[in-house]
Structure formats: structure tokens, C-alpha cells
């Protein structure tokens, strides 16, 4: 290397170059020097995001076998497969920061890294499949579209791929709910009951209020985040209110009203004590979600071992399979 990378003077110079890149709204790439705090912030955020995609397969996955038609089953399968894909894009991005996949998996399974609290709520009725698509994926899109411009290159590129696919997720959910709303009174009641349960947790997906979000200012300065939690929450409410009207459901917030002066909807405060509880691991499904994930990981161990053994044998004896096949045919003659 031409330039020494040790010593406080060299470090200050590297930091200056890093800050310049951020100020130009240019992207930071994996082999660039970056402050430890920037790296740690990204690892925490991207890992949490990846884990959310993986755990997020469970609430809807349980409805695949009970989808009411082949069409709905195929759609749900495709959607859950997408979530797995999104998790993998994000794990890849996270690994470029110098974390290993095994470490990320271990931290999810041991509960040392978090995933979005929304997935700790149960899916009690089939309408929840539609509500998750509409509200939960809708909130995720609100969060994720600005992240396509995040300052870390691999994260932004993963977000672009994810956002392209999320739009299908939201639309299939809304269409599902529209279909149910055209059905019987019982079906309409099922949709309303589902929306009642998911509305507040969806609002909590944007994180704590700005005043209580210690990482927000630093993340904004580094371009890791592009908007504050409260701004994104407001945007989501403004987008969703007319969609709820068109659907014919009532959002369960008596304080929800258009504010002409602000040009935005006023809305009530989510129950932040409940949010804190779910984050602490005391939500309705925290234990179940992690137990399921651990079991799936352990049950899959023999497959991973078999694939490794096969790869090792292929590497040691290239073409071994074909030779055995020939020998078999020979003996059959």
C-alpha cells in the first residue's frame, strides 16, 4: 500500500475523505475506509432488516396450506419466497461489512440481534394475509424507498431490488381485502377486525418518536437514514387514510382527522409501553417465532452437512459420479 493507514494523522485524513464522500452524496463502498461507528450502525440496521425478512416468513407462511384457492396459494407462496430472497440480499450486503453469515445467524437465534416487532403479532384470521400486505408491507415500503438512497452502496442496491418486489406484496394484500369486502357481512367483519389489530403495530414499525430515538441524528448525518421516524409515520398515515376509505374499513383511531392547516392528518399516539414490551421479548409471539426459527435451522443441519460432504467428494474426485454410472451400466450388461 502506498499510504500508511496507521497513526492518528493518517486516520484523520481517512476520516476527512469519508466525510467528503458523504457530503457529496456519493456512496461508500465495502473496501473504503469507514469509521467504526458507521460500520456498527450499518451492521445493526442491515442485520435487523435481514432478520425481519426471515422471521417475516412465519406469520403468513402458516396460511399457505389454508389459502382458500390455488390462485391465493400460489400468490402467497411467491410472496413468502420473496421474503426469503430479501433476507438473502440483505445478509449479502451485511457481510460486505466484515460480518460472517454464521455470526449473523447465531445472533438471530440467540436473540442478540433484533427483528421488527411487527412479526411478533399472531395471524389469527385469513384476512390478516391481506392486512399484512396492505399495512405492514405498505409501512415497509414507506421505510424502504428512501433507503434506496442510503449512503452505503451494497445496502442501497439491495433496497432497490427489494422495493421493486414489495409493490407486488402490497397490491396483492389490498386486492385480497377488496375481494373480501365485496363478500358477505361476516367477511367484511373479518377484514375490519384484522385492521383493528394491525393498525397500531403498523404505526410502531417506524420506531420510537424522534425525541426518544437516540440513533436518528447520527444516522441522518451519515446518510444511513434519510428521514426521521415521525416524518415517515406521518407520510404512511397520509397515504393510508384514502386507501382505507376506498376499501370501506374504519381505522381504529378516534383522533384521526385531516388538519387543513398542517396539510396532514392528525392521529393518536401508539401505545409505546406495548412497543417496549414487544421489543423486550414479551410480545404475543416472540418465543414462538424464535423457537420455530431455531428448529428450522437445526432440522436443516443434515442437509447442509450432506451438501458439504458431496462438494468435498466432488472436489477430491472430479467426474467420480460419471465413472460410477459407467461401471453400473457395465455390470448390467
Amino acid at each position: 500500500m502506498a499510504m500508511s493507514t496507521t497513526g492518528p494523522a493518517a486516520e484523520a485524513e481517512l476520516e476527512r475523505q469519508f466525510e467528503e464522500t458523504i457530503a457529496r452524496h456519493d456512496r461508500i463502498e465495502p473496501r473504503d475506509w469507514m469509521p467504526e461507528g458507521y460500520r456498527a450502525t450499518l451492521v445493526r440496521q442491515v442485520a435487523q432488516h435481514a432478520h425481519s425478512e426471515i422471521i417475516g416468513m412465519q406469520p403468513e407462511g402458516s396460511w399457505i396450506t389454508r389459502a382458500p384457492s390455488l390462485r391465493r396459494k400460489a400468490i402467497l407462496l411467491a410472496k413468502v419466497q420473496d421474503e426469503a430472497g430479501h433476507g438473502l440480499y440483505l445478509y449479502s450486503a451485511c457481510e460486505t461489512l466484515g460480518v460472517s453469515r454464521a455470526e449473523l445467524t447465531e445472533k438471530l437465534l440467540s436473540g442478540r440481534q433484533k427483528y421488527s416487532s411487527i412479526f411478533n403479532y399472531p395471524t389469527l384470521s385469513y384476512a390478516d394475509v391481506g392486512t399484512i400486505g396492505w399495512l405492514v408491507d405498505g409501512a415497509a415500503i414507506c421505510n424502504q424507498v428512501p433507503l434506496c438512497r442510503t449512503s452505503y452502496g451494497p445496502y442501497g442496491r439491495a433496497m432497490i431490488r427489494i422495493c421493486k418486489e414489495e409493490s407486488f406484496h402490497q397490491r396483492q394484500g389490498y386486492e385480497l381485502l377488496m375481494t373480501m369486502m365485496r363478500g358477505t357481512d361476516a367477511q367484511r367483519a373479518m377484514v375490519q377486525e384484522s385492521v383493528d389489530r394491525f393498525w397500531w403495530p403498523a404505526l410502531m414499525m417506524f420506531g420510537p418518536p424522534d425525541a426518544e430515538s437516540p440513533n436518528t441524528a447520527r444516522s441522518l448525518a451519515w446518510g444511513v437514514k434519510r428521514d426521521t421516524n415521525d416524518d415517515l409515520r406521518q407520510k404512511f398515515v397520509d397515504m393510508t387514510v384514502p386507501q382505507a376509505e376506498r376499501l370501506g374499513v374504519t381505522l381504529p383511531d378516534p383522533g384521526l382527522a385531516w388538519n387543513e392547516e398542517r396539510g396532514h392528518h392528525d392521529f393518536g399516539e401508539p401505545d409505546w409501553e406495548e412497543f417496549a414490551q414487544v421489543v423486550r421479548g414479551e410480545g404475543p409471539c416472540n418465543a414462538q417465532r424464535l423457537a420455530h426459527r431455531r428448529r428450522a435451522h437445526e432440522d436443516g443441519a443434515w442437509v447442509r452437512e450432506a451438501a458439504s460432504a458431496y462438494a468435498a467428494r466432488q472436489a477430491a474426485h472430479p467426474g467420480g459420479e460419471a465413472e460410477r454410472q459407467d461401471a453400473h451400466e457395465e455390470s448390467a450388461r
Binding site: M1, E29, G85, Y89, E95, S100, E165, R304, S308
Partner: protein, 96 residues
């Protein structure tokens, strides 16, 4: 397998359609080359994003170092005459 016991990392390149180059789209872990291609199909081309996939083990890639940016790319920095805009041609010369 790598020393750590993890499956090796592969970088994935996809040709979007005939006539285009393969472009880097991301990475994945796989036990061997064949599994890497299969997994790349499932992870990166669920919606007809490609007609051809390349995978290559990440440890087989040699890259320029960001620290060597200046010396490595300097030879092209001072050769502006390689660009068409270097040459002054009167505006009334057609088809140029």
C-alpha cells in the same frame, strides 16, 4: 468449505437479456459451483431478470485497492485526447 466451516462466498453476475453484458447483482453462499448457479437462479432471477448467470468464488477475484486509486487510474487521467470532446470541430461540419 472455507477454513471457518462456512460455505464459500460466490459473487453472482446476470446477463439481463441478449446483447447486454453480465452485471454484478450480489452474492451468496453455496457448497459448490453447481449449487451456486441453482441458488443464484432462485435468489436473483425470480422475475425473468436474466438469460444467463455467472458465479465466481469471491476469493478468486483480484481487485484494485481503493488506496491505490490514484496511481492505478492516473494513466487515463491526463489523456483527455482520448475523448471526442477534446477536438474542436466547427458547428457547421455535418455528421460529426
Amino acid at each position: 468449505m472455507t477454513a471457518s466451516g462456512e460455505w464459500p462466498l460466490y459473487e453472482v453476475f446476470v446477463r439481463g437479456k441478449r446483447g447486454l453484458n453480465h452485471v454484478h447483482v450480489g452474492s451468496l453462499h453455496a457448497a459448490d459451483d453447481e449449487m451456486a448457479v441453482r441458488n443464484a437462479r432462485d435468489v436473483y432471477t425470480r422475475r425473468n431478470e436474466g438469460v444467463s448467470i455467472w458465479v465466481v468464488r469471491a476469493d478468486a477475484i483480484t481487485a484494485s485497492s481503493p488506496d491505490e486509486k490514484d496511481p492505478l487510474f492516473a494513466p487515463s487521467g491526463d489523456k483527455v485526447y482520448r475523448h471526442p470532446t477534446f477536438y474542436d470541430i466547427p458547428a457547421d461540419v455535418p455528421h460529426m
